[in-house]
Amino acid sequence: MWNAGREVALKRVRCAVCGTEAAAREMYGAEGKILCTSCVEKAGQGKQVARLIDPTICARCGRDEGSHDLPRLGRLPMCGECTRAVRNVPFPAWLRFAFVALVGIAAGALVLNQRFFSAYAAMVRAGHAMKAGRFDEAVPLLESAAEKVPESADLRIEIMFVKAIGFVQEDRSAEAVPLLRAYLKTSPDDVNAKKILLQAEVAAAFEARDYETFLQKSLEVAGQNPNEPTAVAGVASAYACKYAVQGDEEFARQARERLEAARRLSPPADPDFEEYSQRIQFRLATREIISRAEFHRRFPNGWQPGEMK
């Protein structure tokens, strides 16, 4: 640290210990005693030591102004040239060079990594589309991201998952099932994907008219969600399909029983549950299995038992 200590007006002073005479700025003050450089270490021990200041000598360059006191910078006498110099200390060349070089490297890296940024931008936009439920929009965005970063395995896997969700949304569950199975091979702990796969397997079995698998998978869904009315109604739907195909009254009884259990779990007058219930009851009454879309085409105002086809 730069010590601004006691000042003396004399240019030359004498050491209190050894008597050496020297320029004041080369001497030290130690609690009233003047000490030379050789004596200060021993005699100044334990005392407050500060270098003496000669107001006629520039504290920086040592220029002697004779009897003329120099202007102060803080507490230090300083000549005009040195004052200008300490107020305009330049950054060292190595620092300026290093800074420019590093900023250049960062800029270069930004250019080199540009493909990652555009891929990320596409991923963020895909995320927004998925949040809004527009999976069909999300898939091409993710595919364009994967083209930019072909080495990203995670991205390819994510595309598989998003495509599968899109298929489920479009009632193309059979196409979603293999994608979801492949996705789960790489992400076996994704509970959400497991649930979606099971739902897709249920729907795919229904679409394929494989009512035994439809029943088994529906029972699995209901076993995992015993308090979920649509899950329990799914079992009723599967039994109703079995009844429609085989005409076995036991299946019809099971279907009615499950539908009643689901109704008890459902909030009163829930329109979604009511619609699902009507489709199951229609199947039981007519032994005809039609898709949801077909049901709505035929009965835009809903169906009640006893109503004609």
Partner: protein, 178 residues
């Protein structure tokens, strides 16, 4: 958390020390404060320092003290930014990206003003507190935060700060902007 001697941290993150001192120097120059001596890095305590004239003007004192917080934080983001998406999102491990992350986090880690800076600011702010100067009032919580940050550096608060602004801030901002 493993306590690591400050000297080793300073050695491992020396660009941050250099930028910290350069930031003090920059604000001294911008405010016309005389600089007597600058040490950008040394093996010792403190690892770097700037000796400048005593500052009477509070705005200058404030800016010189908090200069590293502004400059180090900004440079931390600047250097981490080109590497953050490739490394964090795509797990793309290339030496250049990791170099930039090391550089950015090292700089961010040294953003907190030192206790010495905080002490000088505290003394100056106390003198001006009566005048209700907004900058002086802002200095009090800042000094407290600085002390807290420096104390918590034993539990890597400085590293976590670097990580937060170098890693998480760019990703958050990109997510909001896109």
């Amino acid at each position: 958390m493993i306590p690591i001697p400050g000297l080793l941290i300073a050695l491992a993150t020396f660009p941050g020390v250099i930028v910290h001192e350069a930031a003090h120097m920059l604000f001294c120059k911008l405010r016309g404060v005389a600089i007597f001596k600058v040490c950008f890095f040394r093996v010792g305590n403190p690892a770097g320092y700037v000796v400048h004239e005593e500052i009477e003007d509070f705005t200058s004192a404030f800016l010189v003290a908090v200069g590293p917080f502004i400059v180090n934080s900004a440079l931390c983001v600047l250097f981490c930014f080109p590497a953050i998406i490739p490394v964090r999102i795509f797990h793309h491990d290339d030496p250049l990206s990791w170099f930039l992350i090391w550089l950015g986090i090292s700089i961010g880690m040294h953003a907190f003003p030192s206790n010495h800076d905080a002490k000088s600011l505290w003394v100056q702010a106390k003198k001006r507190a009566g005048s209700l100067q907004p900058l002086a009032l802002l200095a009090f919580p800042l000094v407290i935060l600085t002390y807290a940050g420096n104390i918590l550096s034993i539990v890597w608060a400085d590293y976590l700060y670097g990580l937060a602004i170098g890693f998480l801030l760019p990703e958050y901002l990109l997510g909001r902007l896109l």
